[in-house]
């Protein structure tokens, strides 16, 4: 593995200079959902990491990546994960979902403009896909972009947009053809979020937090140079984004819940009864296999939808198991493991909706993995 040893040494040196604590394999510290560790700190760290050439191992060299193969890159990320890093969840959409789309479908100018910024945390990105009447049925979207000379005028509403309130750029899907054209009349754009006419309104979530937003477009003018892909070919762009999203959700880089086994083990004090032993062993197995499955998605062509459905099943299992182990302590109030798991039980169901609902994922597996006849949806 060319360069692995050198780069691993660089990581350790960088970590030492940063004073990053080693991840204690027996400690359980991360929070699920994330995004509450302080944006400024995360951004500053990410810039130093990027400038040290340690942020993006498998990225193209011209955009600041290292150009390494996937296996070496994964191994280096594992080295980095030996340390406790500032909260990385702000960057998942930017780096793992929007940037790959720009790399695949953007013009050289768009790539030069955004990709480095997204990886260096000089900009944050969001998706602007779902609408109140277009959730699973994304092809029903109504937000319009109308051509006006060398620009487009956008009107409409988007919803469930993670981090839109913090973002500099959004990947927008807008209708440029007739609504009856469905997925054929949609175009993708890279919209600067600070343009006049854009209003972002956070949505209060089930657990009281607000990472999602409604985004309103009122005669927003965007240049044609911000168009991503061909006119009316936004569906291709969107599908590529959604595949990246599913892969990111099931990947090791963004394990929704870190250390499930250790977290659950800590709930069973004293002599562990047989039923609880069974539950804990099952949790351990699921944790190991989630890693293998994520790797198979990343490198062996396993469908990301399979990985995401397996993940969702794991999250349901962890939540149920925590409730069983905690008993009444599930409601034991702030600062207790009960509070952590209460929040988990409330917030983890979002994983069953974001990036395509369970139902959508099953449809993808049925049609694309198993080759079953297309369900009559349209």
């Amino acid at each position: 593995m060319t360069g692995f040893e050198d780069l691993a040494a660089s990581i350790h040196a960088f970590a030492a200079a940063e004073g990053l604590p080693r991840r204690d394999p027996d400690a359980v510290t991360d929070e699920p959902g994330g995004g509450d560790g302080g944006l400024a700190r995360s951004v500053a760290f990410q810039r130093r990491l990027f400038d040290a050439g340690l942020a993006w191992f498998d990225g193209p060299v011209e955009h600041g990546g290292r150009g390494l193969d996937p296996a070496t890159s994964a191994a280096l990320r594992d080295v980095l994960r030996e340390y406790v890093l500032p909260d990385q969840t702000y960057f998942t959409v930017s780096r793992r979902i929007v940037a790959p789309t720009i790399l695949a479908h953007g013009t050289p100018q768009q790539q030069a403009r955004w990709i480095r910024m997204l990886w260096r945390a000089d900009a944050l990105a969001c998706q602007l896909f779902s609408e109140p009447e277009a959730g699973s049925d994304l092809a029903a979207l109504r937000c319009t972009a109308v051509r006006d000379g060398d620009a487009w005028v956008v009107n409409g509403q988007k919803v469930w947009s993670s981090w839109a309130h913090l973002s500099d750029v959004g990947e927008l899907l807008a209708r440029t053809g007739a609504p009856a054209d469905r997925h054929r009349g949609i175009t993708a754009f890279l919209v600067e979020m600070h343009l006049p006419g854009i209003t972002v309104r956070p949505i209060r979530q089930i657990n009281g937090e607000s990472h999602f937003n409604e985004v309103f477009f009122d005669d927003v003018r965007i240049p044609d140079s911000a168009r991503l892909g061909a006119v009316d070919d936004g569906w291709t762009v969107a599908m590529s984004t959604l595949t990246s999203e599913r892969t990111a959700m099931g990947g090791r880089d963004k394990a929704y819940l870190s250390h499930p086994y250790r977290r659950l083990r800590a709930l069973a004090a004293g002599a562990v009864g047989d039923t609880d032993q069974q539950l804990l062993a099952e949790a351990w197995m699921r944790e190991q296999l989630a890693g293998v499955t994520a790797d198979r998605v990343a490198t062996a062509g396993l469908s990301p939808s399979v990985g995401k459905l397996a993940l969702v099943d794991d999250l349901l299992f962890y939540g149920r198991t925590a409730a069983r182990l905690l008993g009444p302590d599930l409601v034991a109030g702030a600062g207790t493991p009960g509070a952590f798991w209460s929040d988990f039980l409330l917030s983890s169901p979002a994983q069953r909706i974001a990036g395509g609902t369970d139902q959508i994922q099953r449809g993808i597996v049925a049609e694309r993995v198993l080759g079953l006849p297309r369900d009559r949806r349209t």
């Binding site: 959730g135 999602f212 008993g327 599930l330 409601v331 209460s342 169901p349 139902q359």
Partner: protein, 363 residues
């Protein structure tokens, strides 16, 4: 094997079941007018207070001789299901159910007066107890004046804020006692999962208390309160589950995607059908409690089946609602929160199955 203690010893008569269904229907009308739509935050027990004032529900299980309604398991199940459905707050379970059930097993002026207080709704005691807890956590010590002092803590439990008197199960030198604490306990509200009904931690530190019963009579009273608590929380879960399924079916009929209601998709239809089966099995468990006169085995059965059904159905309800179910304003999470909290406070299904097996294997 002796007959297990229960809410009542006789199977429900047909008349009782009819009464229960009328009561449930009246209650649903009342709650429809005063408690719908479900609110995300607690109502401070206001709805419950009105139910006590206007329908006398605090005296549900208090004998008529003490000013109550003198009802049995059929009515308890019916009322609790409606209260769960509307996610009503207030000390229904620890007071009207648990305290009344414990006190109903005791003779004596003091027990009688406490029962009358429950029915009357003033200075009503609540029973604070960890169901199925491994060890008794409160110890009592005799004092020179014949009363006792308590040390230890219980929680999270359902309770009511001071000045509500507390009924506590404690250990007095190896003997179980049921005691009354009229003041001096330290109660901490645990702001947590179920926003409509907080849990509490109760700490006793040399707190003076009065012994109401000891030995087998205390154990019997405590067991009766426990069984009634399981039944009430289980029936609440049936109500929660039913409400969550109704909301979801309604959403499936109105929300359109791909040019038709999502409820026209077979995947959604079959999921909702499976949840219906889950709900109906829980309802059968509620019926089973009534048939068995609220005995202990049926109470375990209801606690397991109803809490599992409520957690499953409210969890799937959030998922089937898509994004909207994940917002603070929509009531799906209020039901999810109550389901989890009621299930946690009733004792886990594992604990109930374990206790049930011990009963089954007794003979």
């Amino acid at each position: 094997m002796t007959a297990p203690p229960g809410v009542a010893s006789e199977p429900a008569s047909e008349l009782a079941t009819e009464l229960a269904s009328e009561l449930a229907s009246a209650l649903r009308d009342f709650l429809g007018a005063h408690a719908e739509p479900v609110v995300p935050a607690g109502d401070g027990g206001q709805v419950w207070s009105r139910l006590c004032g206007e329908l006398g529900l605090a005296g549900l299980l208090v004998p008529e001789s003490h000013g109550g309604l003198g009802f049995g398991p059929a009515e308890l199940v019916a009322v609790a299901a409606e209260l769960g459905r509307a996610v009503v707050g207030g000390p229904f379970v620890p007071g009207a159910v648990a305290a009344a059930s414990a006190l109903s097993t005791l003779d004596g002026d003091c027990a009688g007066e406490l029962l009358a207080r429950i029915a009357g709704g003033r200075r009503s005691p609540v029973f604070v107890h960890m169901p199925l807890a491994a060890a008794r956590r409160v110890t009592a010590e005799s004092t020179v004046d014949g009363s006792v002092t308590l040390t230890g803590s219980v929680g999270p439990v359902l309770a009511a804020p001071p000045p509500a008197p507390l009924l506590v199960a404690a250990d007095l030198g190896g003997t179980p006692v049921l005691v009354l604490v009229e003041g001096g306990a330290e109660l901490t509200e645990l702001p947590s999962l179920d926003l409509s009904r907080p849990a509490w931690r109760v700490v006793f530190d040399g707190t003076p208390a009065r012994v109401l019963a000891g030995g087998d009579r205390a154990a019997g009273a405590v067991r009766r309160a426990e069984v009634a608590t399981w039944i009430a929380l289980g029936a609440e879960c049936v109500g929660v589950a039913g409400h969550a399924l109704e909301l979801t079916v309604e959403h499936a009929k109105t929300r359109r995607q791909f040019g038709r209601p999502i409820g026209a998709f077979q995947a959604v239809q079959h999921k909702l059908a499976d949840l219906t089966v889950t709900l109906e099995v829980a309802r059968s468990a509620a019926d089973y409690v009534v048939r068995c006169g609220g005995d202990e085995r049926s109470a375990h059965t209801l606690a397991v089946k109803a809490s599992e059904a409520a957690v499953t159905i409210t969890t799937e309800a959030v998922q089937l609602h898509g994004g909207i179910g994940f917002t603070w304003e929509y009531p799906a999470h209020v039901l999810l929160r109550r389901a989890h909290a009621a299930a946690a406070l009733a004792g886990t299904p594992d604990q109930h199955r374990r206790a049930l097996f011990a009963l089954l294997d007794e003979r």
